[in-house]
Symmetry: C2
Subunit: 304 residues, 2 copies
């Protein structure tokens, strides 16, 4: 039982010297950071956003760019594009900002909401999809409390359960979901929200998640919090107007934002994740040895 | 091998019906929410903040209330109080806001920073303390990737490692830490930060954490993000001035904020955590069956 004895001794020693702990520990050797690995990446490590699956939400202070994930919510992704193409969101507003949770937009007139012309108001929920629909999964080796397996698929954080044969988009920071009422099939995309706080993973498999904000999060995360329950705004002047909400493919080439997302099935992305999981010195004194799904960076860059 | 076969069959069935999954599942019975349990709590489930361990940071838009955790960082907590008592922070500013990470305050003059009169500029890092120092730990049963054990101690989220005999405050949303340079002992409390994004748990055991914002987070989380690297502000007009930074005990009784924090060693807190871990219907369709340390609510209320 030597291992146990050594462990106990170590505990006693550390308890006595704690406080001086960092000073007496062997410094971590320096190693490339996430930023270093991104800098050293090759063009093949990146993919450009597909304009047909990219949305631009233009706010007074700038543009929010959303990448849709049709693999995980095909009907909702199509319906949100249909809504954008009939200018459904233009002139609607950000109407909710709840601290450490979400920012939401849509029609503030709850009693008499704007009706889509051709797009649907509600759709059957797409909370999970069959595993076989997702052919691009790269698993994280790290433990997760909310899902038997976690990882990334084509630039999106996902959970999956081999026992039920399901996979789903995870509620990490910047993920975009579809608001709904108590009925599972009561959402359709006319009310959308983005995660602005600690990942509310308890929502996973309970709501349709449709994509991720790849640029413009600071425009959403800093919207002053609403004073009404759940962060809703109780005065019209708190609302942030949506100037335009368009599918990128419908925007003239010269006005498009050119973003690339690192391929999450690349070896370079694995290096990025490892750089976050075990940081080098000299600033870091103790490497975490773990990375949570929602702490793994998914690098994005703009082609200028 | 019946269990395995049933699991495989279930997977095939679910793969076929996925999409209709939520509709065919048995609805979750309703149960009390976190809010319901807080409402039904007894006075003994709460403790008032100790004015000697409470800080008020008055900003132009309102007050931020910070509870110090002297059990976990005794020297830093004492030094920050000493800084407050010599009015060190009054007239200094919020100088950094990095999206999905932290907001930081102190002296923006990095080359020639304000010197404390009696308080210390630097202290030995208090990244962890001996387990025996913490007599109020209540363990969460949920798995955690960053620490062998996690839970709460006197209203603060903590990690602990029985093998090394150490415990530490965890970097959850609203936790307050002490900025430092590469040297472990280069911080002292003149530069403080608060977590405003996804819990950066990789910082745990690498930096001194001193407390938690119990009121006023929206004043910090919505500070516009800084354009310079790491979210620093590159123009003085971006800075948010600190009007006053005081120990609550030094503030006239009539001007004090009266907050109470739920006792995390109470049975009621266990109910709060369970309500978050496994939500009831009808809105929730699938209970998470897990709660991450930084997703467990630590209820706070104001005595009016």
């Amino acid at each position: 039982m030597k291992a146990v004895r050594i462990a106990v001794q170590a505990a006693v020693t550390l308890a006595v010297v704690a406080g001086a702990q960092a000073a007496t520990m062997k410094p971590l050797p320096p190693k490339p950071s996430v930023g270093d690995i991104v800098k050293e990446s090759k063009p093949a490590d990146w993919r450009a956003l597909d304009p047909e699956n990219t949305l631009y939400m233009d706010l007074p202070l700038g543009r929010v760019v959303i990448e849709l994930a049709p693999t995980f919510a095909p009907n909702h992704a199509a319906n949100i594009k249909a809504l954008a193409r009939e200018n459904y969101f233009d002139g609607l507003v950000i109407l909710r900002s709840q601290d450490n949770f979400v920012v939401q937009w849509g029609d503030p007139d709850e009693k008499n909401p704007k009706q889509p012309k051709k797009a649907k108001m509600t759709l059957k929920g797409e909370f999970t999809v069959p595993l076989k629909n997702d052919t691009q999964f790269t698993r994280l080796k790290d433990v997760d409390g909310y899902a038997p397996q976690v990882g990334h698929s084509n630039g999106f954080p996902v959970g999956r359960d081999p026992k039920t044969g399901e996979t789903w988009l995870a509620h990490c920071y910047a993920m975009v979901g579809v608001g709904r009422d108590a009925d599972a099939d009561s959402g359709g995309g006319t009310a959308l929200y983005v995660v602005t706080g600690q990942a509310p993973r308890q929502l996973d498999r309970n709501i349709t998640v449709v994509g991720r904000v790849v640029s413009g999060m600071p425009l959403l995360s800093t919207v002053p919090r609403g004073p009404a329950p759940m962060g809703f705004f109780d005065k019209p002047e708190m609302q942030v107007p949506i100037k335009a909400f368009r599918v990128a493919a419908d925007v003239p080439e010269a006005e498009r934002s050119k973003f690339e997302v690192m391929r999450t099935d690349s070896a370079t992305f694995q290096k990025v994740v490892e750089a976050q999981r075990n940081r080098g010195g000299p600033w870091t004194k103790v490497a975490a040895g773990h990375v949570d799904l929602c702490n793994a960076p998914i690098p994005v860059r703009e082609q200028k």
